[in-house]
Symmetry: C2
Subunit: 99 residues, 2 copies
Amino acid sequence: MAIPLEQALAVMVSTFHKYSARQGDKFKLSKAELKELLTKEILGCSSIDWLSIRCIMNDLDVNKDNEVDFQEFACFLACVAMGFNDFFKDHCQKQLRKK
Amino acid sequence: MAIPLEQALAVMVSTFHKYSARQGDKFKLSKAELKELLTKEILGCSSIDWLSIRCIMNDLDVNKDNEVDFQEFACFLACVAMGFNDFFKDHCQKQLRKK
């Protein structure tokens, strides 16, 4: 029986490799691969432009090899999840105040 | 239409809150809540003992408040995902060597 949290982690890995394998280093995202992944896989990034991609790449690319490896990508997703969590927390606290 | 990667991030948030809300601070995991989450949600931790929980808590609890907040939990999941990724990468490289 698959466990939701483990499935979620597997989706993180499979989504990364779906795009990283397209060109160049099979295990790293180029700028173009990162742009395509964000455009198609993160709703809020569906119309992201190249300037934003360069800023995100600059933040994520800790080892400055001009590509995003899985560790850098996982840190990015942790930050996105924190944004989701803040939204969830605010919603819960508003509900509690209404009572 | 739900997007797999966003659903995965939502599962990370909902799984955390499923256990954090049980006792004490609703938005943080106590040791007992962390043990229950790992035991039920991570297959490799189904028989984890208290000594291991204390070690994991010691690593995750960056602000030393004796609880795990969502940021600390997200960093933990990023590390687990990296383990999944290493397994996936090794598998791919073995397949390539067979060809």
